[in-house]
């Protein structure tokens, strides 16, 4: 599209040399084309293709026919789909709140001018530096009833001496998965908030101090408003990723026991394995409306920021 537009505008100039502005534009297009082709072909096109598939009864090897909203009607009558919706909402909301408090607290802590904070910052980054699937493998191990580290600690410290099958029973599976997800995710929040804190002008604090503001008032009226844009962007982006994360659930529980931790990507993956692609695609597509709202907010905030 864009390339055609340029070549059309260049045509009349063909007899003479290309004008500098046009040559510049042409180079600009040529430089961005490889990225654009890949992203249009393998992100934008599949995105709309997914929506199309979700309205057909496509199976592996047969394109299928248009069935309207049948797949969605079918899904909304499935208990496992409704469980997926509620699990996703709980996971996103609870882990966002936990990461917000931990991240903010930690950022304030690491912003204190005390010896050793450089080392501490490096330590805090470790869960984030760890490959995600490994972090969740390790937590799967920590959660096993016998030989897992968590029950061992609880027993050794005398907090709880019974044996808890963290990932194996319905009541603890979702909280356990959330704990692991928060452990892996909080460093990103803490580091983002810390970077934002360091960008707050010091004289604002001095001025607030002169006016007799207490530490809490300074936090409430100086710190929070200054870093609010960063908080919002981090919350929104993290929500998108949490709602769509596959590996944490796949590695720890595969959605079990009996759908207690089922989420969209895992349900769609299982759907794909049954070869009924229409229904499987409908699972992913069903979350697009919620996702669009989040994406719209993020892009809007980033634009405001710039």
């Amino acid at each position: 599209m864009s390339l055609q537009a340029t070549s059309r505008s260049i045509k009349p100039l063909r007899t003479s040399r290309l004008s500098l502005a046009n040559r510049q534009a042409l180079t600009g297009y040529l430089l961005v084309v490889p990225a654009l082709v890949l992203l249009l072909g393998l992100v934008a096109y599949p995105f709309f293709f997914a929506i199309f598939i979700s309205f057909t009864d496509r199976v592996v090897g047969r394109a299928g026919t248009w069935v309207g909203f049948d797949n969605f009607r079918y899904l909304f009558n499935q208990p496992s789909f409704m469980k997926t919706v509620s699990n996703t909402i709980i996971m996103v909301v609870v882990s966002d709140i936990a990461k917000l408090f931990i991240g903010l607290g930690l950022a304030l802590l690491l912003n204190q001018a005390v010896p050793g904070r450089g080392l501490m910052r490096a330590v805090v980054m470790l869960p984030w530096a760890m490959p995600g699937f490994i972090a969740f493998l390790v937590w799967k191990l920590l959660f096993i009833p016998i030989g897992g580290g968590l029950n061992l600690i609880l027993t050794d410290t005398g907090i709880y001496t019974g044996v808890i099958d963290w990932l194996g029973q319905k009541s603890t599976a979702l909280p356990a998965v959330i704990i692991a997800t928060v452990w892996r995710g909080f460093p990103f929040w803490a580091i983002s908030f810390l970077a934002a804190l360091q960008g707050v002008p010091q004289d604002l604090y001095e001025a607030a101090k002169c006016d007799g503001a207490t530490a809490f008032q300074r936090f409430r009226h100086v710190t929070l408003p200054s870093i609010r844009p960063v908080i919002l962007v981090v919350v929104l982006m993290s929500s998108i990723w949490t709602a769509n994360s596959f590996e944490n659930i796949w590695i720890m529980t595969q959605g079990g026991p009996s759908d207690a931790t089922m989420v969209f990507p895992v349900l769609a993956y299982f759907g794909m394995q049954t070869q009924r692609l229409g229904e499987a695609a409908a699972v992913s597509v069903a979350m697009i409306p919620a996702l669009l709202i989040l994406v719209f907010l993020v892009t809007w905030l980033i634009k405001e920021d710039e």
Binding site: L42, V43, W250
Partner: protein, 300 residues
């Protein structure tokens, strides 16, 4: 805590001397320090314990893991590592992951540098639109795309090949890399390139000789992000790779946990081997990575 306890003593006195006031502030300072270091120790313990546990279990045999669980291994052994490499062909997984991750990193850095250079330094129609499109593709989760992509990849005959994985991973890494690199490029003044171009360098030459060398910290951070993201990817490898000889590290480990009996020793040995290089990279490049986060939020 000490600081709070000390206060009423001073308040009770009619006129605290300078000495006493000095003492109180010092006591309060120490109290704050105790609180800060206490919290830091707690956080450090929560962060480090799972990592420690991963390494400990990798040194234990099944008997020690289940029958006599303990925080410190009694008879540490490298047997799990041996078994993983000799019987599970883990080195093949590592080789495949290295090929995929380094190819993705090199190609992605090149394509993204071009795209970022174009968006930051050139003027043309649709430039703003293209920039926003790239941001949007970054925010499109892979979990939305894997079903249509499985059909497209099959049609392109890219299934079950490392090359196919590289192409798919590029679509995730390019949006983020382009976005981060645009930020770095914007912070480099354009005068230097213009000067070089006046001296006869082409626009592409200015990119390679001036802009990229000046953005080395940014390139390093973006390169590490890209490498680790490709090194860690599970979902698409799971869908596209079907033959054992082409499994990447995440895939090799995930097949170890789908059996009936989980061999935690070898699994954790594999986890340690896979995590170590990446974590060392992050540790060395820590400062760049933090800058990377500030430049634009990075998936976490």
């Amino acid at each position: 805590m000490e600081g709070i306890d000390a206060r009423p003593v001073v308040a009770g006195l009619a006129k605290p001397t300078r000495m006493q006031a000095l003492l109180t502030t010092r006591v309060r300072k120490i109290g704050t320090l105790v609180l800060i270091y206490g919290l830091m120790a707690l956080v450090a313990a929560i962060v480090i314990f799972p990592i420690y546990w991963m390494f400990t279990i990798s040194l234990k045999l099944p008997k020690e893991i289940y029958r006599l669980p303990s925080l410190v291994p009694d008879n540490p052994t490298w047997r799990n590592y041996q078994e993983l490499i000799e019987k599970k062909d883990y080195l093949t997984n590592i080789r495949n992951s290295l090929i995929v991750a380094s190819s993705v990193t090199v190609v992605s850095l090149l394509i993204s540098s071009f795209a970022a250079y174009s968006i930051v330094r050139f003027r043309y129609r649709f430039r703003g639109f293209i920039g926003r499109l790239i941001l949007l593709t970054y925010l499109t989760p892979g979990s939305l795309l894997f079903i249509p992509l499985s059909i497209i990849v099959a049609k392109l005959h890219l299934g079950n090949s490392l090359f196919g994985l590289v192409i798919i991973y590029l679509t995730f890494s390019i949006p983020l890399s382009t976005w981060l690199l645009s930020g770095y490029f914007r912070s480099v003044p354009a005068d230097l390139e213009e000067q070089a171009m006046v001296d006869g360098t082409s626009q592409i030459g200015a990119l390679f000789r001036i802009l990229l060398p000046l953005s080395l910290p940014g390139l390093a951070a973006v390169g590490i992000f890209t490498f680790t993201a490709a090194w860690n990817e599970l979902l698409f490898a799971l869908i596209f790779i079907t033959s054992e000889s082409k499994r990447t590290v995440p895939l090799g480990l995930q097949y170890l946990i789908t059996g009936d009996v989980l061999l935690w020793g070898p699994i954790m040995a594999g986890a340690t081997l896979a995590a170590l290089p990446v974590m060392i990279l992050y540790f060395i490049a820590q400062r760049f990575m933090v800058q990377g986060v500030t430049a634009g939020s990075v998936k976490g």
